[in-house]
Amino acid sequence: MEHLQFLIILFFAPLVQGLIKKFKAHMQGRRGPSIFQTYFDLLRLFKKEMVISETASWIFRAAPYIVFSSVLCAAMIVPVISVNSEGWIMSDVIALIYILALGRFFMALAGLDTGTAFGGEGSSREMTVAIMVEPMIMLSIFTASIAAGSTNLSRIAETHAIVYSPSHIMALSAFIVAIIAETGRIPVDNPDTHLELTMIHEGMLLEYSGRYLAFMEWAHYIKQMLLFTVAIDIFFPYGIAKIGTFEDVAISAAIYAGKILFLSALMAVIESSRAKLRFFQLSSLLGGAFVLSVLAFLLYIMMGR
């Protein structure tokens, strides 16, 4: 049963996106769309006709499926509400990072594929950001891995590896910045903008429509919830079920929902409270966060906690 946990991420990911949008709308004094609007949007896109550029190659057509299946694969190896490190040897953090990188690689290729200026811009910016974000994610997860003595996510969640230590706070801060960058949120990217020239994530998707766009969007929502879940597993796994009784799992699910709500609200607050950074200044934010993750790592090695 625990291998079906990814279904939670698959089907609730659009809801998390809807929630963040709702929180943001409230912070701006607007009523905002229903939290289920993202589902309706996906449904609408699935039904719509696709318009595909004549210059598009197979990469453009394959990318939505590759991107979607890569995030889905990643979701399959992440413990959501129940952990069992013995039975779950697949849940490896290094694998996780590279499965996500595969999706990113194809998304960037697809952005370049049609030869439009905005797609190329989006891809080049995405890769620039990725160079800074990937090592950050790795280092903050490795800090936990060393503590747990394993790169297995279930194992890390089980042992509460780096909880209650100075490394914990530093690695967590770095990881939050990584989530913001990975999910394309302010101050790194602006998910709600119509300004083509400023886009990163949206820029790569500009040429997509209909079903392909739906897959891309859905994949993005899944990636977002997945990163939230990884953050929960590593940095505050309290309450995650260890033995598979129904009661335990139900409590664990409720606690998990609460944590996701908290993270969504946090994203909305960060996004509403400041402007986007100038693109070339991203390096100071991301570089700062990288230094934090390095410090967390070193501190753990030197102090042992």
């Binding site: 083509e196 020239l197 986007k276 100038r278 693109f279």
Partner: protein
Amino acid sequence: MNDQNYRVLSSETRLNEEYIEVAKEDFRTACVSVLKRHDAFLRLMFCTDERAYTGCFRIYAVFSDSRINRFIVINSAVKDNLAYPSITPDIPAAHWYEREIKDMFGLVPEGHPSPQRLVFHESFPEGSFPLRKDWSISEDDLKQWSEGMVVKEPYKFMRVEGEGIFEIPVGPVHAGIIEPGHFRFSAIGETIFYLDSRFFYTHKGIEKQFEKLSFGTGVYLSERVSGTSSFSHSSAYCMAFERMCGIELPDRAAAIRTLVTEMERLYNHIGDIGNMCAGSGLTLGYAKGALIKERLMQLNERVTGSRYLRGVNTLGGVESDILQKSDDIRSTLAHVVKDYRDFMDLILHSLSHIERMETTGYVAKDIAAALGITGLAARASGIDDDMRKCHPHLLYETLGFESNVLTKGDDYARMLARAADADRSILMINELLDMHFSKDLIAGSYSVPSMQYALGYSESPRGSLFYWVKSDHEGSVFRVKLRSPSYCNWSAMPFAVNGDIVPDFPLTNKSFNLSYSGCDM
């Protein structure tokens, strides 16, 4: 006047307009010497087709400076070979006007560095000049026009070549719901090396349309040139007509015009400051700005019946007595001002937002002056250009108006210039509401003189706005020339974004907030 190197054929002074006629050969010398001697700006340049009366075209160049309330209008007749010496090499601000005159009248500016088509794109038939009085379009031409591409030579964009330089074409259809305009960036990575732009995708032929309407109906057309400055447009149009006929505006009408002009400025500026937040992604600021703007527009509707302040102006005065609703204006304004102060507080404490604006979109003072940039974009770059101060009209002199000049020339300076302008508007509105005026709304009877002309102007939220009207022998419209601030200020954009990065362009664009509609006239 002894050292002048051109011969004055005739001169005439009416109100604050001094018309100096020179020979075509002296046109350039005359313009340059006026510009140099008075340290003046080229305000507008236009042409009329007088062939029916005098057998020639006439070109006009209007200059004024910010110290003396006087317009110097150099004009000369163009008769033979339909060419005149271009003034663009000496006065860069003339570059668009001369190309427009070429498109509309077929007069060739000799020596213009880039005499390409401006207003009409490749599809418009060659040899067809719509503002000539005898213009008509044949079935053939119409067919060609609708099929596109008549001119063999496509429009030449400025091209930058070299290793690592690539072009980013943007528009004319944009992602937001805005009007069409094409931008072509030459960039090295993210850094903008050069920006070329093209407009007039929705040219509406408004000047020609004016000639078909009576002066009275022209008011409605002028209100619809550009939605966000409807009132400034109709005010300038009415003012030109009133000056042409020698009508003295009743003080109540002048007060209402001043009041509504400032109401228009206020809702625009607050909305624009909010819009700049959208450019940097500060969503909270954007939402707040939009909310305050909406309150002001609802006030507009309650007071004048139109969210865009249409239907107030009429020739010789105003239609409705808005001062009777001063209680509503006063109380709404009191609420709005409180929200506006909170809003500005939020923005001035959002360091992330200010950091984006500072040093971005820098326009140097000499460039702004050379290009004839107007309005708050000029004031942000250290040029004291405000029609309310340079050429006091309506009640601005009574109100003791003083302009705000900043020097930084970047996006932040333009935002601060807006805020300072809005502050002064609030003060002036309150001051006007406390004053007392006579009862008359419209001036008494008048007649339209024949073959008479005059300038009208106003300071719209974006900058100076000009109308020049001329009547014919029967007292109907002979020619209406209008010049909106966006027409001048679009030229500043390539200079403003040069050296900035591509994702900063929308922010700079919003800091100017120019109108496509106000350009595609």
